[in-house]
Amino acid sequence: MYLENISKIYDEKGSNPVIALKDITISFKPSTMYAIMGESGSGKTTLLNIIGLLDRATQGKYLLDNKDINDYNETELAKIRNNKIGFVFQNYFLDNKLTALENILLPTIINNKYSKDEYLKKAQNLLKEFGLSERANHNPKQLSGGECQRVAIIRALINDPEIIIADEPTGNLDSKHEQEIFKLLKDISRTGKCVIVVSHNSNIKKYCDEIFYLEEGTLTTYENNH
């Protein structure tokens, strides 16, 4: 994954355009855990949305598997999101009307990498692995924050994505569960996936291989933990 001179301007033609990102050049590799840090409003979410194909850059080039994403239309982008990218959010984004298991299966409905039964089995295995097998048929409302986030992580993993994107995954959790989620994400990165985490929290540093700092839309510092 390679982003070159990415800029993002909100409300470009409007009365007060906001320059959220300026000339960002950044690349990501598999089997690595990245952190993007920075103050509130520095453009972290904007950058993640562009990486996650939820939004397009105003300027710049974004190569995913050596293909320019500007060549894809919205439908193709949706397909890539479903297949290659897993999302984790601060507020979990689980549907309260569905059980944990159903929430996990939501992205599999439009994906035919595996059969229905295989997906079900996979989901159950992951639930077990994450210590949630007892919770499969509970509603998110009945789960604790940490459990909800683990369910969300399983949902992000269910389609075997290459990239996991997490925007403040521990923003609503206490420090004990925070460590637990960071550890999980780190383990996931060791299975060959590229994990990108946005966080205010400096505790994340010790789990990450590479750390980027954003300041008012520009990339300022870069740290390598090796």
Binding site: A78, K97, L106, N111
Partner: protein
């Protein structure tokens, strides 16, 4: 597909809303029934001869009083030898308009006029108010339910978008399905209402026209909410598309 539909329908809320709408429609039906009943009784009463008759003291001026009302009078008996005379009007309304216009001159000479049930008049007024209020409630609530639904579904649509669902086709189809479901629910309610009409022998046309108006309003709000959600889905992030 089953999961998606389950995720889009808020069952407890839907149940609550349908119960509310159903009870409002029942209230409406009941009000109509009693309203019709009182109306019937009133007409019946007004047709009675004693309710169309005005008795007054025999007096030299009565002939000139009746001038201009000739075509509204069914029969009259003006008798100088008796203590009083009487006039029978064709309808109760004629009598009332006559007494109203000639109020001052009649004040001293009217002996007797039967008053029709004041209570019934009040009742039908109250019922009319009830009907109008329920009607307004029904329409407002159905609009509120729909708006509420859109606002809730907005977040879910974003979730589906993140998870890689195409827009707007997939969600659009699901939404049409939901629209279809709600139409079925409304039609069932209407059918029950229709049965009530048949059983109670009411003038079906009044009630059905009200119900038709309701269904149309509900369908319109549904379609509106569909259009709005389509606009929402397609506008999402499109502003940044080149």
């Amino acid at each position: 597909m089953r999961i998606i539909i389950k995720g889009l329908i808020d069952k407890p809320k839907l149940k609550k809303n349908i119960t509310l709408i159903f009870s409002l429609i029942l209230t409406l039906t009941f009000s109509f029934y009693t309203f019709y009943y009182f109306d019937l009784k009133k007409t019946e009463n007004n047709e009675k001869i004693e309710n169309r008759t005005l008795y007054f003291k025999t007096n030299a001026s009565e002939k000139s009083l009746l001038k201009g009302f000739d075509d509204k009078i069914e029969s009259q008996e003006i008798n100088d030898s008796e203590d009083y005379s009487f006039v029978v009007f064709k309808t109760r309304d004629d009598l009332e308009s006559f007494s109203l216009t000639k109020k001052d001159s009649l004040k001293d000479i009217v002996v007797n006029v039967t008053t029709t049930g004041q209570l019934e008049n009040n009742m039908s007024l109250i019922l009319q108010i009830v009907i109008i209020v329920t009607e307004i409630l029904l329409v407002t609530l159905s609009i509120i339910f729909n708006l509420n639904y859109i606002l809730n579904v907005k977040e879910e649509i974003f979730l589906y978008h993140v998870l890689g669902y195409k827009r707007p086709n997939t969600i659009g189809i699901i939404y049409i399905f939901l629209l279809f479901l709600s139409c079925i629910a409304i039609c069932t309610l209407t059918f029950i209402n229709y049965l009530i009409c048949l059983i109670t022998n009411l003038p079906i046309f009044i009630i059905t026209s009200v119900i038709k108006a309701n269904i149309i309003s509900i369908i319109i709000t549904n379609i509106l909410s569909y259009i709005i959600s389509i606009i929402y889905i397609s506008s999402h992030n499109l502003n940044s598309l080149k």
